[in-house]
């Protein structure tokens, strides 16, 4: 137990962060959080990363959290500082990312009076945080921070916000850590129902056409290895939601790729034809299921999730195990050792192989650069050994489909909220977590502009992030919907003014290269990857290039546009 007598509230914040094992945090100073920044001034154990916008700070913390499994920490001032975190909090909330956001608030005597830079950030963030606190008494400060980390990282992870009035950071109190927590309404006790486990086992063993389906919950539980072991032991085809990319290595023979709106054709067919889905850490999001009434209509569903509220929320289950993905998976593995009554599924494997052969992911490389070709060029050079963040839109779907990774920590993307502008700052967080690894920021020209100012953060910290812009001069994904479903009526999706991204990078002191021809792609990718420092590749692709396959929104998975 740590005890320090009579220190400022701001110092308590810093000491508590250290106790929680925080060594990297992201933020932006202002009037109200100035005292905390003053406490950070002398602090050697915490590396504070100053971004150029609070919105980027929280995305960077999010990227850091997703790629390390540790909670991300972000700090902002009151008022606009806090409100600039809103998108990032919602983003982390939708994807269950452990995050602790510390905002400063106006002094207690000014609260509720519409004071300068006052915003009710606790009220604003109620719908988008796992919990939010306003610290009204310095005696509660250490306990609240401890609880915040506990809530953020346990159970189904998520963002927690702690709002601290400026005068609380100035007051003095004794620091005792860890303090006792006071959370009577929160329990993470394991409640695995063995009867459900056995029922699930029976269904798995008797299934003729079983399919495994893995998602972000596996990543959060750090259970990829266990799940991979289960996949191999069961020898069943496995598909994933966007958040589950990397749980199964992309080059694994049982990997069917992503399911859903932009899933592979063979994964979508497999969902439509299978007789059992074993879903682990997934939430059957609408982008996955397509039209619900036809989703996996031949299948029984076994659902494993840490969040009881997810079970039966969208898809009715035949068996459901409420528990940690790793714990349940290991239990399955153990139970499986005792069973010898597995159905033969050779026929099912043949069927799946057949789909793979007849409906592969494909494209035709013409004299215009294809985005898929760029991703293949990256694969050839990195051989799956790279970290990548994506933005949102077509670049995201192409990356999910084509980029090769081996673990979920290598692939960071905004799934549930679909936040443009997430990728570049997330890559900053990833590169800080893995200073010696190749970190790619896969981007589109729309998303890239949203947090373009972070080029400065990259330059300042000398982070060798490789930015790959698949530039089609428009908001490609929205344009694709207009192309396919709105009679090609392209309302407000084309950027009439296209800034020169290479020159912009150069203005920041970052090297860049424009790529126009397919012949150059291989060399350009090589140059970027080998360059010692940040590098921007601005790659011209066609605005007409769409992401396929595509299940129209509300359509059935087996009814794809290809």
């Amino acid at each position: 137990m740590t005890k320090i007598e009579n220190i400022r509230g701001a110092q308590i914040v810093v000491e508590a962060l250290k106790e929680e094992g925080v060594d990297t945090m992201f933020g932006y100073p202002g009037g109200a959080n100035m005292v905390i920044y003053d406490a950070l001034y002398d602090e050697k154990a915490i590396n504070h990363i100053l971004t150029r916008h609070e919105q980027a700070a929280i995305h960077a913390a999010d990227g850091y959290a997703r790629t390390t499994g540790k909670p991300g920490v972000v700090m902002a001032t009151s008022g606009p500082g806090g409100t600039n975190l809103v998108t990032g909090l919602a983003n982390a909330y939708m994807d269950s990312v452990p995050l602790v956001a510390i905002t400063a608030q106006v002094g207690r005597s000014l609260l509720g009076k519409d004071s300068f830079q006052e915003a009710d950030i606790v009220g604003i963030t109620i719908p988008i945080t796992k919990y939010s606190y306003l610290v009204k008494d310095i005696k509660d400060l250490a306990r609240i921070i401890h609880e915040a980390f506990y809530l953020a990282t346990t159970g189904r992870p998520g963002p927690v916000l702690v709002d601290i009035p400026k005068d609380v950071t100035q007051e003095l109190a004794d620091f005792v850590y860890p303090p006792e927590m006071d959370l009577p309404g929160y329990s993470i006790e394991s409640k695995i129902d063995m009867a459900e486990v056995d029922a699930a086992m029976d269904m798995i063993c008797s299934a003729k056409r079983p399919l495994m389906f893995v998602g972000g919950g596996v990543r959060n539980a750090g259970a990829s290895e266990d799940v991979l072991a289960l996949v191999e032991k069961l020898n069943v085809p496995v598909s994933w939601s966007l958040m589950g990319k990397g749980v199964i290595p992309d080059d694994h023979e049982l990997n069917l790729g992503m399911v859903g709106m932009h899933g592979t054709a063979y994964a979508n067919y497999a969902f439509s034809e299978c007789d059992l889905i074993l879903g682990i850490g997934v939430r059957f999001d609408d982008r996955v299921t397509g039209k619900l009434s036809t989703f996996a209509k031949n299948a029984m569903v076994v659902h494993v999730d840490i969040d009881d509220a997810e079970i039966d929320k969208i898809v009715p289950t035949s068996a459901a195990v409420h528990g940690d993905a790793g714990e349940v998976t290991r239990l399955f593995l153990k139970k499986l050792d005792e069973r010898e009554d597995r159905e033969d599924i050779t026929e099912w494997h043949d069927r799946v192989e057949d789909w793979k052969e007849t409906h592969p992911l494909a494209y035709d490389q013409t004299d215009i650069i294809k985005p898929q070709y760029v991703l293949e060029a990256i694969n050839r050079q990195t051989k799956g050994d790279c970290y990548a963040s994506t933005e949102v839109g077509q670049n995201q779907m192409w990356s999910a489909q084509w980029l090769q990774v081996k673990t979920p920590e290598q692939f960071v993307t905004s799934g549930g909220l679909g936040t443009m502008g997430f990728g570049l700052p997330a890559a900053i967080g990833m590169q800080l977590a893995h200073p010696d690894k190749t970190v790619l920021s896969m981007s589109g020209d729309g998303s890239f502009q949203m947090n373009i100012q972070e080029l400065q953060t990259i330059k300042e910290l000398k982070l060798p992030v490789k930015i790959v812009i698949l530039n089609n001069g428009c908001l490609g994904m929205v344009r694709q919907w207009q192309d396919l479903f709105m009679d090609k009526r392209y309302a407000c999706t084309v950027f009439l003014d296209k800034p020169d991204f290479v020159r912009i990078a150069e203005a920041y002191g970052i090297k860049g290269r424009m790529v126009m021809n397919p012949d150059e792609v291989e060399d350009a990718v090589k140059e970027a990857l080998e360059y010692d420092g940040p590098f921007l590749l601005n790659i011209a692709i066609e605005s007409e290039e769409n992401v396929f396959p595509m299940v129209p929104a509300g359509g059935s998975l087996n009814n794809m546009l290809k």
Binding site: L111, G112, D120, V122, G123
Partner: protein, 169 residues
């Protein structure tokens, strides 16, 4: 000091959130709150008991009035009004003697016994806050198993009850 506010609001989803959020954000304390539909199903009445000094109460009233879904607000504290709360108390009554004693208290307070179990009884009582407090104090020695208390509802005596404005259409 405690003030009783009688508030007519639009009967719409989210109205309660708007009011609760306002109290939280401006740092006001709700002592109790009771909501129910009025004779007009489009309108609900809230009775809010709030504590604070005159300056705070004035702000509470003005801020509440600013909410678009608040139709009319009256601070009835200084008016002649009838205010009632209701409670259920589940008390221990291990034997006949205890039961007798409890029944006597129930009579004195004009409360009612609404359920008798093997070794518990449920008492229902309505009254002003002070009376409810007194019942609770009286029964406490028997051992209270469970306790449910509503917020106060209130109505001004005589003809001057704050009515909601006539609908325009």
């Amino acid at each position: 000091m405690k003030h009783t506010l009688s508030v007519l609001v639009e009967n719409k989803p989210g109205v309660l959130t708007r009011i609760a959020g306002l109290f939280a954000r401006r740092g006001y304390n709700i002592s109790s709150l009771a909501v129910g539909e009025t004779d007009d199903p489009d309108v609900s009445r809230m009775t809010i008991v709030v504590s604070g000094d005159e300056v705070v109460i004035e702000q509470v009233c003005k801020q509440l009035n600013k909410l678009v879904d608040v139709i009319k607000l009256t601070d009835i504290t200084d008016k002649e009004f009838i205010g009632r709360e209701m409670i259920f108390i589940k008390v221990n009554c291990p034997d006949a003697k205890a039961r007798m004693e409890i029944m006597q208290f129930v009579d004195i307070f004009r409360a009612r016994v609404v359920d008798i179990g093997k070794d518990t009884m449920i008492i229902e009582a309505t009254g002003e806050a002070a009376k409810i407090d007194a019942i609770e104090d009286t029964l406490r020695p028997f051992g209270i198993r469970d306790f449910v208390r509503t917020g106060q509802i209130a109505m001004v005596r005589g003809a001057k009850n704050p009515k909601h404005p006539k609908k325009s259409n």
